[in-house]
């Protein structure tokens, strides 16, 4: 029996796009779905596909339907296609088409550009599932394990969202691209994912929390700017995805926060005031704060690369065409055309780092990255509150945007986290102070022992303030049936 016979596509897939009447998309989805399930089974969370996980499923977009909690086996998760409600008379709000009616169909002249935007966004969704697939077995609690899987199934749904757009609006090419999203693999030499940070490894839970804090936040910024799109289906898709993305960042921020809390608590109990007394802190079975800083340095810098070149013709084209706007575009007070405005861009000029005014249209990436840095800073400040409250003299800082970059203005130079330019020799001598070293990695790995007893937490992380879906502290978030 063909795989597709197991799923009644017209009724079992939660959607608000009239799927049952859309023969073209139904047919495409039938073709694509077996490959997706295959991908999920081989590249999704390893070892827990038969476990019952207490997951939230979105079955509709109304307040009652978008967060249904229940035990689910992940391969049976009801991935759906949900778009934010259509706003009547929505307009293109920026660029050369500002004031025109928002497009309900793809304008022919922007077909290639739009497809590219959708494919790049779509490629990140399965990538992070692949990056995180081994983490289940070292989960520091069932609560965290469940959060990991929640993030994973939702990244899967985000992939569905992009695939829906490809199937619905981009014809044969769209179907090929949707197939391609299942073919590429994070970190694979031959078929890598499209963007750098999505080919890095997520070797441990600290990386996972940092990733969901920093890299999912890039996802948020990209979705925010695509939510502004004049192509209405893309806008509506991204608006709904943002509600889920918020949870991913919650997992990251509270995850790191709980690590910090536990470290500070252990230090207090042991009477250690000096956060740099690393050996003693580590002996307590918790993560020392300087190592957390290094992890943050790494993930922040990798995530900055996702914003692309500071000055970018592509970004300018996307904006001017009305396809991808700025963060909170409609709340910005300007002409939303940017044909004569400028924007300050940090650049390398004759070996010095300087702010240079560039045409605002070409500096779209820079602006989004600035907004991103501000957004990150909010979370970092909340982490610092935890440290401050414990009375420990230590402050986590976002490194300079010039630090450890592979893309953009600063890819060819070395800089310290403070933004001082360094020679190759200085960088090589000092980089282990700023980025996780092999030793740091080995130490973190040594902490990664599973803790699967309901209500228990690993030595290096605190319990959360409140449970998911207001469940009690000893709730069994995952009923483990190891395959």
């Amino acid at each position: 029996m063909p795989e597709s016979a197991h799923v009644d596509y017209s009724t079992k897939i939660p959607n608000n796009v009239g799927l049952q009447d859309d023969q073209r998309v139904l047919k495409a989805l039938e073709q694509w779905h077996p490959g997706y399930i295959d991908w999920w089974m081989t590249m999704g969370p390893e070892g827990f596909q038969t476990s019952d996980v207490y997951l939230r499923t979105a079955i509709s977009i109304d307040p009652k339907g978008w967060a249904k909690f229940d035990y689910v086996k992940m391969p049976e998760y009801r991935w759906g296609i949900l778009l934010a409600p259509r706003a009547e008379d929505r307009l293109v709000n920026f660029g050369g088409h500002k004031g025109e009616k928002a497009w309900q169909e793809v304008p022919g002249e922007y077909r290639a550009m739009l497809r590219r935007l959708v494919v790049i966004q779509g490629d990140t969704e399965p990538a992070s599932v692949e990056q995180q697939r081994h983490l289940g077995k070292t989960a520091p609690s069932l609560y965290d394990m469940r959060n990991l899987f929640q993030v994973n199934v939702e990244e899967g749904r985000h992939l569905w969202a992009m695939v829906y757009l490809l199937h619905k609006y981009f014809g044969k090419d769209g179907r090929e691209e949707a197939e391609g999203l299942l073919q590429r693999r994070s970190g694979d030499e031959d078929k890598p994912r499209m963007l750098g940070a999505f080919n890095e490894t997520t070797p441990d839970w600290l990386s996972f929390f940092m990733f969901t804090f920093f890299t999912d936040r890039d996802g948020k910024m990209q979705l925010e700017s695509l939510a502004q799109s004049g192509f209405d289906p893309l806008s509506r898709t991204c608006r709904f995805m943002l509600t889920e993305e918020a949870h991913h960042m919650f997992v990251g921020e509270t995850g790191v926060g709980r690590v910090i809390e536990r470290t500070c608590e252990a230090m207090k109990q042991a009477g250690i005031d000096d956060p740099y007394d690393i050996a003693r802190v580590r002996a307590l079975g918790v993560v020392d704060l300087p190592t957390l800083q290094k992890k943050a340095n790494l993930h922040f810098s990798l995530s900055l690369d996702l914003f692309g070149s500071e000055v970018s013709t592509n970004a300018a084209n996307f904006y001017n065409s009305g396809l991808k706007g700025r963060f909170q575009e409609t709340r910005i007070e300007d002409d939303h055309a940017l044909t004569s405005a400028t924007y300050p861009v940090l650049k390398l000029v004759d070996g010095a780092i300087k702010l240079v005014e560039e045409p605002a249209l070409t500096a779209i990436n820079m602006r989004l990255r600035d907004d991103y840095v501000k957004d990150c800073q909010g979370g970092v400040s909340r982490w610092n509150k935890v440290i401050e409250k414990a009375g420990i003299k230590f402050e986590l800082k976002l490194p300079s945007v010039t630090f450890h970059r592979q893309i953009g203005e600063f890819k060819g130079i070395h800089a310290s986290p403070e933004g001082q330019l360094l020679s190759d020799g200085e960088w090589a001598a000092r980089k282990d102070r700023w980025l996780p070293s092999t030793d740091d990695g080995a130490f973190i790995e040594s902490l990664m022992a599973p803790c699967w007893e309901a209500g228990r937490y690993a030595s290096w992380i605190s319990a959360p303030k409140i449970g998911i879906d207001s469940k009690p502290g000893d709730f069994e978030y995952v009923k483990i049936h190891r395959a």
Binding site: G96, A112, D190, T313, A315, A316, N320, L338, P359, L361
Partner: protein, 552 residues
């Protein structure tokens, strides 16, 4: 803008290319220095290139033939991650004068043709291994190679995005090579050329845009195998050492350039340059060993390099010098002697390279958009290879008889075997065959007098010169002709001359240059591309171009 664009360079001065030679394989790495542009106002991002990058490439291709004759396969790759080459730099094009753009395209085309010539006539094969995007001129560079390998990594693509992106056409033979060399089906070619993002992986192979699509993990092995295959399929002298292409003897003076065997005298008010070639002062060497020992100072090679440099200099740096007058001084017998020496030793690698080089220099003259005039005067040595220059000219004038009070021999022109096929034009025919396209028997009549010095009346009768004038008429006729020529529209002359020079069959080369001068240059001038709201001007601003929808 530099005071003068210099076409001379050498390996220690390269900023954009790295050449590694090992055994019979050369690795050529394109790693453009962003800040190494020839002019101000643009950065050469993403391995994009300008004329300076191409001058280095031309130098490398030339040196590979003369200095590294043992090389059988040249592997062309990018030194940058994720990008092979983004093609000609758009900001450079947008900021350049139209004349510079045209010269730039012409030179890059000549360089691509030189790569193909190296493969075809010297057996130096080119393999292009693409990782990352090869767009526009980047893909056209690949098209000049014998074999193209494209990484199958989901990112690497080949593209000709000029039309959708810039409202112009690929300027380095891209369209013609796609159809005539790669033989891509026309409708697929149409789809390819309107697809900004290009084609990748197995589709690129299926459409014949590349020869192989190979995953990253097998990329190096595929290159090694292809190198092996090309190496086995080609022959080069194994135990050969090359000769050094030493720096040219060249001095710039006010209104003149002096080379060892060529003077260029510029008359700015008349908008005319006179190129006076000095024939060899000695007989040809006795043996090929002696020739090799003379190396770059061997007269035919030395003159070819000097003439090549002078033509390129005049094209790029002297746009208002509309007429080039070719003269020569020397002994015809020695010129013919050198021709005979090269012919007799044509199987020797260096002799062969020198003949092929002359073929390219003569083509460069054919493709020079200036009025070309030969003045065959007493004391001149237009024999064989040098007579070929006269046949490349739009008009040739011969002095009939001797000059009073002058003891030089009367003007004569001597044909050698070189005039009958050694130096085909880009249409594949010799200059005489092209000249006599309507009277092929005239070629045979001329062949019968090879080796005989032909005086003015012989030449007129044989149709080898346009006109012969005696002492009484010469000065006036020549003056009137040159003044009249200078009075015509420069554009009109360029178009007319390019039309009349290439009678006979079309080849890939004639198509490339013909379409470059016609379509590409026209489109480049049109408001849809170059206007204030055109695609070239708007490129990079994010603002869309506004097009005039009228079809012409």
């Amino acid at each position: 803008m530099p005071a003068r664009i210099d076409f001379q360079t050498e390996p220690s001065r390269y900023r954009h290319w790295k050449l590694k030679v090992s055994g019979s394989r050369a690795d050529l790495i394109l790693d453009v220095d962003e800040n190494g542009g020839l002019f101000e106002g643009y950065q050469l991002k993403l391995n994009s290139y300008d004329l300076g990058v191409d001058i280095e490439l031309a130098d490398i291709v030339q040196r590979l033939r003369f200095e590294h004759p043992q090389i059988r396969v040249v592997v062309l790759q990018s030194g940058k991650d994720r990008v092979f080459c983004a093609g000609a730099n758009i900001r450079m094009l947008a900021g350049a004068t139209h004349a510079h753009k045209v010269n730039f395209c012409k030179f890059t085309n000549e360089t691509r043709n030189t790569i193909e010539d190296a493969s075809e006539t010297s057996g130096q094969k080119y393999l292009c291994a693409i990782k990352g995007t090869a767009a526009g001129g980047g893909y056209e560079m690949a098209l000049a190679c014998d074999h193209i390998i494209l990484a199958d990594d989901g990112n690497s693509t080949v593209a000709l995005p000029e039309l959708p992106l810039l409202a112009v056409l690929p300027g380095t033979g891209g369209l013609t090579r796609v159809t005539d060399k790669r033989k891509v089906r026309r409708d697929l070619a149409d789809a390819f050329c309107t697809m900004e993002e290009g084609v990748r992986g197995s589709r690129a192979v299926k459409w014949r845009l590349v020869d192989q699509s190979v995953p990253n993990s097998k990329f190096e092995a595929a290159i090694t195998r292809a190198v092996q295959r090309l190496t086995n399929a080609t022959a080069r002298p194994a135990e050969t050492t090359g000769i050094a292409l030493t720096p040219l003897e060249r001095t710039f003076e006010h209104g003149a350039i002096r080379y060892s065997s060529l003077d260029v005298d510029i008359d700015r008010s008349a908008r005319r340059a006179t190129l006076t070639i000095r024939g060899p002062v000695t007989a040809p060497p006795a043996t090929t060993g002696d020739m090799q020992a003379q190396g770059a100072s061997f007269w035919p090679l030395r003159l070819a390099r000097e003439l090549d440099d002078a033509i390129l200099h005049l094209r790029a740096n002297e746009p208002e010098i509309g007429t080039l007058v070719f003269k020569s001084i020397g002994e015809s017998g020695r010129v013919a002697g050198h021709d005979a020496f090269l012919d007799a030793n044509a199987s020797h690698w260096l002799a062969g390279e020198i003949q092929h080089y002359w073929k390219r220099v003569l083509k460069r003259i054919d493709l020079t958009s200036r009025s070309l005039v030969a003045m065959i005067e007493p004391g001149s040595c237009f024999a064989g290879t040098l007579a070929e220059i006269a046949f490349a000219c739009d008009r040739s004038f011969m002095f009939d008889g001797a000059l009073k009070g002058d003891n030089r021999a009367p003007a004569a022109l001597t044909l050698t075997a070189s005039n009958f096929g050694s130096y085909p034009m880009s249409n594949g025919l010799s200059r005489l065959a092209t000249r006599f396209i309507g009277e092929p028997e005239s070629v045979e009549t001329a062949r019968a007098v090879v080796g005989t010095p032909l005086d003015a009346s012989d030449c007129e009768r044989l149709g080898l010169v346009t006109s012969a004038f005696d002492e009484i008429d010469w000065d006036d006729e020549v003056r009137i002709f040159l003044e009249e020529r200078a009075s015509f529209s420069s554009d009109g002359l360029t178009g007319m001359e390019a039309n009349l020079r290439f009678a006979g069959p079309e080849t890939m080369e004639t198509k490339i240059f013909g379409r470059l001068t016609a379509w590409q240059n026209w489109i480049f001038q049109r408001p849809n591309a170059a206007g204030a709201e055109g695609a070239l001007k708007r490129y990079g601003t994010g603002v869309k171009a506004t097009f005039d929808p009228k079809r012409v």
